[in-house]
């Protein structure tokens, strides 16, 4: 039965592919996101840029606020819980969330253990910087992976680094001989069967999205060309000058990510992009949370 749920949860992620998942903080924003073509929304009280600005401990959102967003839209609704905070995850499951993001954007609740996601019926998405992290999260029951990137910065460099790292490691595992896989499993600190899957299929066993720092249609196209199967956009939309237009442009950029002529049209007149922070200026590296 556990296995059946895992399959169904992986399947939902497959339906999200080629789409854009947008962070929203109110039912009104959720409706704007849905109308702009979001394939799902992430309900949270504060978007990562504001979490970063406010500092302090950041927790799961108020269930009432999440329910308001669930009522406002017909597309899947995701919400974040803290790394290792299985009680927050239980609460999110109780309100029938469509996907839980066990997220480094919030303050970690456990500095050693992630949630045992196999104990849940609802699906989990987790962030990863490299193949080892991705496979460890999948082994814990995550049915979708996203790059960690660096949330709330509007700087895509870390998402690029994490996606390139994952793809390079997948290529490396793919080209190994069978007898080298045992050592690769040891090195990545993951079970052998997951390494074998990557070796045979040249991909992760679950859907892999880009997240953290995507702010423009060009950023989204870049991540798709680097191998992402879809894109999360957090602060990039509602921290920009014209959220509706930017959101719709990013959706179209993800569908036609190799058509530079169309991308040029989509990039015109979007108004001001979110003010970014360069990685050297960041005091708190969220991507270092949960390994």
């Amino acid at each position: 039965m556990v296995n059946d749920r895992f399959e169904l949860n992986k399947n939902l992620a497959q339906m999200l592919k080629g789409g854009v998942i947008m962070d929203v903080t109110t039912p009104e924003q959720a409706k704007i996101a849905e109308a702009a073509g979001a394939c799902a929304v992430m309900a949270l009280e504060r978007i990562p840029a504001d979490i970063r600005a406010a500092g302090g401990v950041s927790r799961m959102s108020d269930p009432k606020m999440i329910k308001g967003i669930q009522e406002a839209v017909s597309i899947p609704v995701m919400a974040k819980c803290r790394i290792g905070h299985f009680a927050e995850a239980q609460i999110l499951q109780a309100i029938e969330i469509d996907y839980i993001d066990e997220s480094e954007v919030l303050s970690p609740a456990d500095d050693k253990y992630h949630i045992d996601k196999t104990a849940f019926d609802v699906p989990f998405v987790c962030g990863a910087k490299d193949l080892g992290e991705a496979l460890r999260r999948i082994n814990e029951g995550a049915s979708m992976i996203r790059t960690k990137g660096e949330p709330g910065t509007g700087d895509v460099v870390q998402a690029v680094r994490h996606m390139r790292m994952m793809q390079a490691e997948i290529r490396r595992i793919g080209s190994m001989s069978e007898d080298e896989l045992f050592d690769a499993a040891k090195e990545l600190q993951v079970p052998y069967d997951l390494v074998q899957y990557v070796h045979e299929n040249k991909k992760l066993p679950v859907v892999n999205f880009a997240a953290g720092g995507v702010a423009t249609p060009a950023d989204a196209a870049l991540m798709m060309q680097l191998g992402a199967e879809g894109v999360f956009v957090g602060s990039g939309i509602f921290k920009s000058g014209n959220p509706e237009k930017r959101a719709a442009a990013i959706v179209k950029a993800v569908t036609n990510f190799t058509d530079a002529k169309l991308l040029a049209e989509l990039s015109e007149d979007l108004g001001e992009a979110m003010v970014g922070i360069n990685e050297q200026e960041i005091e708190l590296l969220m991507a270092e949370r949960g390994k």
Binding site: D4, E7, L8, N9, N11, L12, Q14, M15, L16, K17, G18, G19, E34, A35, G37, A38, C39, A40, Q70, S74, I75, P76, V77, Q93, E96, I97, D98, Y99, D121, V122, P123, A248, V251, K252, V254, T255, N256, D259, L262
Partner: protein
């Protein structure tokens, strides 16, 4: 035979893989110019119907797609594809291609916790695997639309002349029989 797979959003690669296993070639329809290529059948995949419907309009493909279906091109819609083809959606006033005489119910089994797998009888084929992901079902069929499968008293597959729809996702399981059924529809046209 060449099948166009609408590749705006969702699980289109899975359909391409099923077709490839059957030895049928396919190509992705991502923008208007892709519709200039000749194709004998069209697959509208699972995903989010709101996203695919909106992109069909914004990428100026909507009228051409509706026209080829109205003119008899065989089309196969799964899940979101079913909603895009339905002439009526009970709990949503956003209609899309509206070419098939069915009344659908969107997210009819609730949220992701309501997603399920079962095996059910499909008319003319027998028992097949059926994966339902935040699925719709068909409340009623009208005109010459025909019921092909029911699960727990709910209609989950139907056909009307050139149009085939399933509320479940045959592209997510190994069983090729529904795709074969669609290929036969094209061949016998």
């Amino acid at each position: 035979m060449q099948i166009g797979v609408l590749a705006l959003q969702g699980a289109f690669i899975e359909h391409e893989q099923m077709l490839s296993k059957l030895g049928v070639s396919s190509f992705e329809i991502r923008q208007k110019s892709d519709l200039d290529k000749p194709f004998d059948g069209l697959i509208i995949p699972g995903g989010e119907s709101t996203v695919q419907g909106k992109l069909m309009h914004e990428l100026e493909m909507f009228d051409s797609i509706k026209e080829v279906i109205d003119n008899g091109l065989p089309v196969f819609g799964t899940c979101a594809g079913l909603l895009l083809l339905a002439k009526e959606i009970e709990n949503d006033d956003r209609l899309h291609l509206a070419t098939m005489d069915i009344t659908a119910v969107r997210n009819a089994y609730g949220r992701q916790l309501g997603s399920f797998y079962t095996e059910g009888e499909f008319k003319g084929i027998g028992k097949i695997p059926m994966t339902f992901i935040r699925a719709p079902y068909i409340k009623s069929v009208h005109g010459d639309a025909e019921i092909l499968a029911e699960v727990d008293g709910k209609i989950v597959a139907a056909k009307q002349n050139n149009q085939l729809v399933t509320a479940f996702h045959p592209e997510l399981n190994e069983d090729l029989s529904i795709h074969k059924y669609f290929i036969d529809m094209i061949a016998n046209k």
